[in-house]
Symmetry: C2
Subunit: 320 residues, 2 copies
């Protein structure tokens, strides 16, 4: 089941959407009908931009599109709007509507006269011990749709589980699964015997997910489960070439288990999977093992969400 | 409260105890009365020994003691007895007595005629999904004493919680807390803003432990709690120089929480803390926050344990 990701572009002309994260810069030229006409991606993430020279970097990245199509409006989102980015856009609080997000936009003008709109991230101040935060994923959640009650997972380095409904993002929680996977596979002693493999060994992946799903209370401790990578090898139950995908399954399985313990879902529920970072197949498979029905958020939820926020700006300016 | 760590040396002469781990080599010359007369420590752990040249390495490390005191018996323990070590000594199964461990010893002779005894590690085959294992810590547990029912924690890279009683090591569980701390503080994005600090900031440490201890079910997810290092900074609640000890407290607190969930202890219990890797102060403090009474296992529990195993060998050979 795939939800529609194409939203009519409220500018009724081409716009540029810039998803500028910590490690990558992605620029999309969006047609009036919401279709992506051109797309570029580079590793010029904000941490690689010296002296905060973001404006020349962006002008350089977009110069050929500006030359060809004129000074199109630019919508920027992601870590570029954070404390380490170009301009720190304050977080909008959950529960948040598209209109609340539109209120949080900070507008600037580029040297060529093009309008530049920085979208805000959101915060869930009910989380303990500190408010939880996201920047960028909220547009993907909007693109998925807020009208029906739903739980959504956004796989990633710091993956997010969110609840939507009543046309609002109701709340969310971060799980640092992808980062722990990277640390484990690149730097840990536990997994040092792991061989790099080509393709995905789904059998080993599923096994890892099942270990996380099946563990009884006495064996479910996260800090213990990670050690099973080592003990499995010592017991001749895990081969070197199986370890990488076993760890991946184990960690994603532990995320699902913890999300279940935190009340994000229970067996039999339907869960939306939104994102395009290559992890969706893994999350879909884990969801099936946790007895969940999955709804695919589509590839371009971020575009749909960004346009949705602008539709809300436009609706108000039309009414004024 | 400190338990006695001095056990009469069953050889009734000097012995050498070699604790040879992954990253370090520690040699101790033990007097007939159990006292450590000399001690050396180097970074010649088994992973740094090329071509498995363990014998020349050991002869070199011990040559001056052999010259001075003759061909003393040598007791070797730790990862040197593992698959990647000198000789793989099979694990002894829990529940295990000192005598069971003595049965698992593998004896060799060094080029100078000195006897070399490799002590076995132990395995708890009741753990899921794979049997849990330790090599070296079992001698520390023995040194703590097996006669009274007790729960013991051995802090470390891969720390262990164990139950003893009825003169047996009844079972144990590994938590990879120290390794996750190293990964977080050296390589993670989450904690990249952490400043190195001199000494220990106990206030930040305690705060981390309390966050782990106090978390309600909805916020207790391990993969979420780690993110509090980042969200605390964003909320201006954690300063850069506080992060390192906050993470340390958070992780050790999560270990205690998970150990409690797995049934190793509950509030009001007494827990032994055994080890000498510099973490004991941190574990004692976490124990107090979890409302536990701690019993100090002493600094030289490993020596006491190694001699205990030999007392058992000696008792049998005397009886034979």
């Amino acid at each position: 089941m795939e939800t529609s990701t194409r939203v009519p572009n409220p500018f009724a002309k081409r716009v540029i959407v810039v998803d500028w994260g910590t490690t990558s810069l992605r620029c999309m030229l969006v047609e009036p009908d919401g279709e992506i006409a051109r797309e570029t991606e580079s590793s010029r993430g904000i941490r690689f931009i010296a002296d905060r020279a973001f404006e020349p970097e962006l002008m350089n990245a977009l110069s050929s599109w500006f030359d060809e199509f004129g000074n199109l409006p630019v919508i920027a989102l992601g870590m570029i709007t954070s404390r380490n980015g170009w301009i720190e856009v304050p977080y909008v609080r959950c529960p948040a509507t598209a209109s609340d997000l539109a209120d949080g936009i900070i507008q600037r003008r580029l040297p060529n006269g093009a309008d530049l709109y920085f979208l805000p991230g959101i915060t869930d101040t009910t989380r303990q011990p500190f408010p939880d935060v996201m920047r960028g994923e909220e547009t993907q959640i909007l693109g998925f749709g807020l009208d029906k009650e739903a739980t959504i997972v956004l796989p990633g380095t710091h993956s997010k589980w969110a609840k939507v409904g009543q046309n609002r993002i109701l709340g969310f929680q971060t799980f640092v699964t992808g980062e722990i996977f990277a640390l484990m596979s690149e730097h840990s002693f536990i997994a040092k015997a792991a061989a790099k493999s080509e393709g995905i060994d789904w059998e080993s992946y599923d096994r890892g997910v099942r270990v996380a799903e099946n563990a009884t209370a006495g064996d479910a401790a996260f800090l213990t489960q990670l050690f099973s990578v080592r003990t499995g090898m010592l017991a001749n139950e895990l081969k070197s070439e199986e370890m990488q995908d076993y760890v991946s399954g184990l960690l994603i399985g532990l995320e699902f288990r913890q999300a279940r313990d935190c009340g994000w879902m229970k067996a039999g529920d339907s869960v939306g999977i939104v994102g395009n970072d290559g992890l969706n197949d893994r999350y879909r498979r884990a969801a099936a093992i946790f007895d969940l029905v999955t709804v695919d958020g589509g590839e371009h939820a971020a575009i749909a969400g960004a346009l949705e926020i602008f539709a809300s700006v436009k609706a108000r300016s039309d009414a004024a």
